[in-house]
């Protein structure tokens, strides 16, 4: 079975902003092969909002000229669409490599890559890989000599300097934020050192200020829960006593007939069921196993809207790993998948779940009736014809879960 495409990612860590589709074909497919959470985005008026919503860690700028890329990046920072730590990569044509180099020296972009012509695909992969690893690292290149650079127009030099200032301002803001986050912790530590408290005293303080109030609160909670349970048990007991008295009265006059007994029993069961309903119902957890990411996303969306907790797996092996470490109420599973198909996954699930039955619903096309029969012999609770409507899916799911 073929690998699924990873290009349809809605929460990418890496994005490439492009202007001309033909320009980025090669570079886009190299990154798509390397990174699962990747997406290309056409530059338009909504680009700022898109970047702000996606919050990617690595952003590649692949506009038709370096100047356009600098302008866009500066605007994204100035307009606060990019106000968090990220790794920026400038893609440029060979003839603009000196300008791109200057941009990186000036700390505008974190790195650059010549993608036209595209010679070093592994270097591009390395740059993206490094970008994902590095959160923020600023180091200045010491060997900048103006004469080594090709002639760059004065206007562009000025734009680069301006953009550099803008980027430095962003980095400065981030550093201040990081510092202010660390300061309260440092203050606490300093205070403790100043008062020269022993570790024992410190523990006593923590116990007094944090642990003891928590324990007291816990004790109160347990007490009130126990009181409530005792009340429920007492009311059940009273109900049973009333019934016993009623039955005793009846037995004095007549032997109990069938109807009286069944009425008494139904009253008793009502009491019991009232007590049982006091328990809070947890949302059911469902695992969706489907190799096609688009259809899997749709199913997850349909089920999540109904307040199910939904987990997903792209093949049978991945599903088995998840089943080992989770308690699912139901599994929706595709038949044809890479690595391990639906039928063999079902066989494996039996041994993984240790005899406890885990209901499985098959996701299938209508051309596979014979295979579904074979699958059903391994224990299926139902099937959903792909793609089906929302109502059909929920009907099949609720039938099994309820």
């Amino acid at each position: 079975m073929t690998k699924q495409s990873h290009l349809a990612c809605r929460n990418p860590k890496v994005i490439m902003i492009y202007e001309n589709e033909e320009d980025v074909l090669g570079a886009a497919s190299i990154i798509a092969d390397q990174v699962e959470e990747y997406r290309t985005i056409l530059v338009n008026v909504e680009i700022g909002d898109k970047v702000k919503n996606l919050k990617p860690s690595v952003i590649l700028f692949a506009l038709t000229t370096v100047q356009k890329s600098i302008e866009l990046y500066t605007k994204l920072i100035s307009d606060k669409f990019l106000d968090y730590p990220h790794y920026s990569i400038l893609l440029c044509k060979n003839r603009e490599s000196a300008t791109a180099f200057r941009c990186c020296i000036k700390d505008i972009f974190d790195n650059y890559f010549v993608y036209q012509p595209l010679y070093e695909k592994f270097r591009l992969k390395m740059i993206v890989h490094s970008g994902l690893l590095i959160s923020q690292a600023t180091s200045h290149y010491a060997g900048l000599h103006e004469e080594q650079l090709e002639n760059i127009g004065q206007e562009l030099v000025s734009l680069i300097d301006k953009s550099s200032e803008c980027k430095q301002s962003l980095l400065g803001s981030i550093a201040i934020c990081k510092k202010s986050l660390k300061e309260p912790q440092n203050l606490v530590v300093d205070k403790e050192l100043d008062t020269n408290l022993s570790s024992k005293k410190l523990m006593e303080n923590i116990n007094k200020t944090h642990v003891e109030p928590l324990l007291a609160e816990l004790e109160d909670n347990i007490k009130s829960s126990l009181d409530s349970m005792i009340q429920q048990l007492l009311s059940k007991q009273v109900g049973i006593e009333v019934l016993e008295a009623k039955l005793a009265d009846l037995s004095r006059v007549l032997p109990p007939d069938r109807q009286t007994v069944s009425e008494a029993l139904s009253e008793s069961s009502m009491l019991t069921s009232k007590i049982e309903h006091v328990e809070i119902q947890k949302p059911k957890k469902i695992l969706v196993v489907e190799d096609n990411q688009i259809y899997r996303d749709m199913l997850v969306r349909v089920l999540a809207k109904e307040n199910f907790l939904v987990d997903e797996a792209e093949d049978g092996l991945n599903a088995l790993q998840k089943i080992r470490s989770n308690q699912y109420a139901l599994v929706l599973m595709d038949l044809f998948m890479p690595n391990l198909d639906g039928i063999n996954t079902t066989i494996q699930i039996k041994s993984v779940s240790g005899g406890k039955e885990l209901p499985i619903i098959a996701l299938t096309g209508n051309k596979n009736k014979e295979l579904i029969k074979t699958w059903a012999e391994q224990g299926l609770k139902g099937y959903i014809l792909k793609p089906s409507t929302r109502n059909e899916i929920l009907e099949a799911v609720n039938k099994v879960i309820n």
């Binding site: 073929t2 495409s5 290309t40 056409l42 096609n292 096309g365 051309k367 792909k386």
Partner: protein, 122 residues
Amino acid sequence: MTEKQLQILNRNVMIELIGNEPDMIRQFEIDFLKQAKVSLRNIVTMYNDSRILEIKEEAHFLKTSAKAVGAEQTSYLLQALEQSGLDQDKAKCKDLILRVKEALQRVHGVIVNDKTISPSMP
């Protein structure tokens, strides 16, 4: 039912599946085009390498999302391609691959002509 009787892109399919959410529907349509581009490239490579049985699997994979987004003509042709791959009928596979490509171009056309959409590429 023949290919021509089917719709290029039946949006009711997705409305009935994920609800009437135009933005989400658009996103899934664009994602489908991206996925189809890669998948079709894989199919052509398999054909050129005479790995005809593998075409069946790739066609099945793409058919799932084609059906889900309502690309009816495309999913119909992918079903036929899946069968031809299984039958190892190379000549028929070639014809169907070309027709799948045309069907995808029609889907692309529908999405592009919808002014509210700006399809991107992988």
